[in-house]
C-alpha cells in the first residue's frame, strides 16, 4: 500500500542554484553563497529557551565564564515544562527562572501561557529569513515560517547567549513534495507520521527537510508547524517551508507591522539547486498510527483496530494547537467518549484555548467527556503528570519512547488529534474517515 504513495525521484540537478536552507544560512553567515558541507559561523537573530533548558542551567555557566547576554532583545524565555508546579523541586525551578528573568531584565518572557513552539510565533517572534536557535528539540517548528531554526542543548545555548553566534554545517536538502488534496479527516500529522515511517527516526541524518508542493502550500500555518515540528523525529536539523502569502497573513494576524513583514527575506529553493526530491500523493494517504515505542513504527490506522486505549491524550506543541482542537471537536460534536476511555486535552496555548472557547470547540470537547489540562508540555515532556502503570494511550504528541510518558509498561500510540478523538469515541483505535462519513 505504502509503495503506491510515493515515487522517490533521486534526481541530479545542476548545482547552479541554492536551496532554501543554503540561502538562509548564507544570509546568517553574511556570504553570497554557501556550499553543502561548509562549516560556518552564523549570527543568531533570536534565541529561545524554557524553564528546563534555560536560566537554571545558563545562569551559573554565564557567571562561570564571566559573560553577559549578548542582546536581551533577541532572547525569548518561555515557562512551559515545569508549570504548573507539581512538587517542591518544580517550584524551585520555576522560582529560579522567574528570578533570573527579572535580574536579566528580559523583555520577552512568556509565563504559563502555552508551549514555547506555539507561543513564539503567536507573539510574532518568528520572521521569514531569520536564523534562530531554541533550547528544545522541537525547535525545527520555526521552519514553518521560512526561518532556519533548530534545537540545541544548554551549554551550546550558553555559547549563543554569550556571543550571539553558532556554528553550523550547511546541510543537504531532502525535499518532500506533496501533491493533491488530503482526504477529509487526514491531516499534517498523518503526512509526517507517514514520512517518519518511510525514512526512519534518523532518516533526516541531521540534514534539512523541506516541505513543498501544492498540498503543503494549501495548509494553514498551524498545520505547517506540525510538519516542521516532527522533523525532529526524523532526525533532521531543520524542517523548512518557504514563506508565502499564508505566512504573511499569519504574521499580520499576530500583530507584526506591515513594515516588518515587508522587511523579511522570502527565500525559496531554486529548481536548479542540488537537492534530493521525494514525491507523495496526498489523496492516497490514510490516517497513520505509530505503535510503541518509536514514531517510526507507523502503519495505516486499519492495522490497529484491535487496540483499546484507556487514555486518549490531545496535547503538546505537536497536537493541541487551535487547528488540532478544532479537528477533535469536529469528530466529537454532540457525542460522548466510550466507557473506559479517559479523554484529556491540554491546549497548546492560552490564546488557542481562548479562541477555541469562543468558537464553542472547548464546550464540545468537555461535553464529550474531556478533562482539560493546563497550557503546558504536560505528560509529553514526561517531567510530571505522566500516565499510570499499564496504561494504553493514543496520543497526538510527537514521541512514544518507552518510559517517556510514564512507567516502562505504558504503551503509547501516536496519531493525529482527529484519530485520537475518533478512537476515544469508538473505544478502539478507529478510522476518523468512517466517523466523519
Amino acid at each position: 500500500m505504502r509503495k503506491q504513495i510515493e515515487s522517490p525521484l533521486a534526481r541530479s540537478a545542476p548545482a547552479s542554484g541554492a536551496t532554501l536552507a543554503q540561502k538562509l544560512i548564507a544570509r546568517a553567515a553574511a556570504q553570497s553563497h554557501v556550499n553543502v558541507g561548509d562549516v560556518l559561523t552564523c549570527q543568531v537573530d533570536l534565541a529561545m529557551f524554557h524553564d528546563s533548558s534555560g536560566p537554571r542551567r545558563l545562569k551559573p555557566m554565564l557567571a562561570d565564564i564571566g559573560a553577559q547576554i549578548w542582546d536581551r532583545n533577541k532572547v525569548v524565555l518561555v515557562l512551559d515544562h515545569y508549570v504548573p508546579a507539581r512538587d517542591a523541586d518544580a517550584e524551585k525551578i520555576i522560582r529560579i527562572t522567574r528570578d533570573v528573568a527579572k535580574e536579566w531584565q528580559l523583555p520577552h518572557v512568556i509565563d504559563s501561557e502555552g508551549i514555547c513552539h506555539v507561543v513564539l510565533p503567536e507573539r510574532g517572534h518568528l520572521k521569514p529569513g531569520h536564523f534562530c536557535v531554541g533550547g528544545d528539540s522541537h525547535s525545527p517548528t520555526g521552519g514553518a515560517f521560512g526561518t532556519y531554526m533548530f534545537g540545541i542543548g544548554a551549554t551550546e545555548m550558553l555559547g549563543v547567549v554569550a556571543t550571539g553566534e553558532i556554528w553550523v554545517q550547511v546541510p543537504q536538502t531532502l525535499r518532500m513534495v506533496w501533491h493533491g488534496a488530503l482526504q477529509k479527516g487526514v491531516c499534517a500529522k498523518d503526512m509526517m507520521l507517514h514520512m517518519i515511517g518511510k525514512f526512519g527516526m534518523n532518516g533526516g541524518n541531521y540534514q534539512a527537510l523541506e516541505f513543498a508542493g501544492d498540498t503543503v502550500r494549501g495548509l494553514g500555518m498551524q498545520e505547517r508547524m506540525t510538519l516542521s515540528n516532527m522533523s525532529a523525529e526524523m532526525g533532521a536539523q531543520v524542517g523548512l517551508i518557504a514563506a508565502d502569502s499564508i505566512t504573511r497573513d499569519y504574521l499580520k494576524s499576530v500583530g507584526v507591522s506591515q513594515a516588518d513583514i515587508e522587511q523579511c527575506d522570502y527565500f525559496e529553493t531554486d529548481e536548479t539547486a542540488d537537492f534530493q526530491r521525494f514525491d507523495f500523493e496526498a489523496s492516497q494517504l490514510s490516517p497513520q498510527v505509530a505503535a510503541p515505542h518509536s514514531p517510526e513504527n507507523t502503519k495505516a490506522v486499519s492495522e490497529f483496530a484491535h487496540i483499546k486505549p484507556s487514555v486518549a491524550y490531545i496535547g503538546a506543541c505537536t497536537g493541541a494547537k487551535l487547528v488540532d482542537l478544532r479537528a477533535a471537536a469536529e469528530v466529537l460534536k454532540g457525542r460522548k467518549v466510550a466507557a473506559g476511555v479517559q479523554l484529556m486535552v491540554a491546549p497548546a496555548s492560552a490564546k488557542d484555548q481562548a479562541q477555541a472557547q469562543r468558537e464553542g470547540v472547548m464546550q464540545i470537547l468537555t461535553d464529550a467527556g474531556a478533562r482539560v489540562l493546563p497550557n503546558a508540555c504536560g505528560a509529553c515532556a514526561g517531567y510530571g503528570g505522566t500516565f499510570e502503570e499499564g496504561a494504553t494511550v493514543i496520543s497526538s504528541t510527537a514521541r512514544n519512547f518507552q518510559g517517556r510518558m510514564g512507567p516502562a509498561s505504558v504503551q503509547v500510540y501516536l496519531a493525529s488529534p482527529a484519530t485520537v478523538a475518533a478512537s476515544a469515541l469508538q473505544g478502539h483505535i478507529a478510522d476518523v474517515r468512517e466517523v466523519l462519513a
Binding site: 564571566g66 528539540s137 542543548g153 527516526m201 515532556a381 514526561g382
Partner: protein
C-alpha cells in the same frame, strides 16, 4: 582523553536507537547530573550506572542519542566517566551536545562487531581507529579538529572561558 592509545577500555554494549529518555529519564530531569547519571540507561541495562567504571567505552548500534535536546543525556555519560561512545551513527543534536560537554563520540561503521566486556584501544589520529585486543582495527570517521579541540579543552564552557579572557585582554 589523551592522544595515546596504550590504555585499554572495557566495552559496554547497547543496541540501536538509544534515545535521550533512556540516557536521561524525564522523571529525574529536575535533579542534578549525579542523580540523572545514576539512572542512565536503566530502562535497557539496570546494571550499567552502578557498575560502569571511568575509562570504559559505550558501544551502540545506529542512531545513538535520538530524541530530546536535553544535554544531560550526554552529561550523564560524561559524569559516569565514559571515555568515548562508539556507534555507527548519532542524532545530530546529541552529537553537538556531546562535544559541547567534552564527551568524545566516534562514528564507527563497524562498531557493532565489538563485544560486551571486550577491551579496546582508541587511536585518536586524523582518521581515528578502535583496536581490539585481537589486533582487529575498526576505522572511524574523522572528527573535525575544532571538535577534537573542544574535547581536549573539556567542553565548550572552557573554550568560552578562554575566549572571554582574550576579549578582556
Amino acid at each position: 582523553m589523551t592522544q595515546g592509545c596504550a590504555e585499554f577500555h572495557k566495552v559496554w554494549r547497547v543496541g540501536a536507537n538509544i534515545d535521550t529518555d533512556a540516557l536521561a529519564p524525564g522523571a529525574y530531569m529536575k535533579h542534578d547530573i549525579e542523580v540523572i547519571a545514576a539512572h542512565c540507561l536503566e530502562v535497557h541495562r539496570p546494571d550499567f550506572a552502578s557498575a560502569v567504571k571511568p575509562g570504559d567505552v559505550l558501544v551502540a548500534g545506529p542512531n545513538f542519542g535520538i530524541g530530546s535536546s536535553r544535554e544531560q543525556a550526554a552529561g550523564a555519560l560524561k559524569q559516569l566517566g565514559i571515555a568515548a561512545v562508539i556507534a555507527p551513527s548519532y542524532s545530530g543534536l546529541f552529537f553537538r551536545n556531546a562535544f559541547n560537554l567534552g564527551l568524545l563520540l566516534l562514528t564507527c561503521p563497524e562498531a557493532e562487531r565489538l563485544q560486551e566486556n571486550e577491551r579496546v584501544q582508541l587511536d585518536l589520529k586524523a582518521q581515528p581507529e578502535v583496536k581490539t585486543a585481537q589486533g582487529q582495527i575498526l576505522t572511524c570517521h574523522s572528527v573535525p579538529s575544532f571538535l577534537m579541540d573542544m574535547v581536549s579543552a573539556g567542553g565548550l564552557v572552557n573554550v568560552l572561558k578562554l575566549r572571554m579572557q582574550l576579549l578582556k585582554n
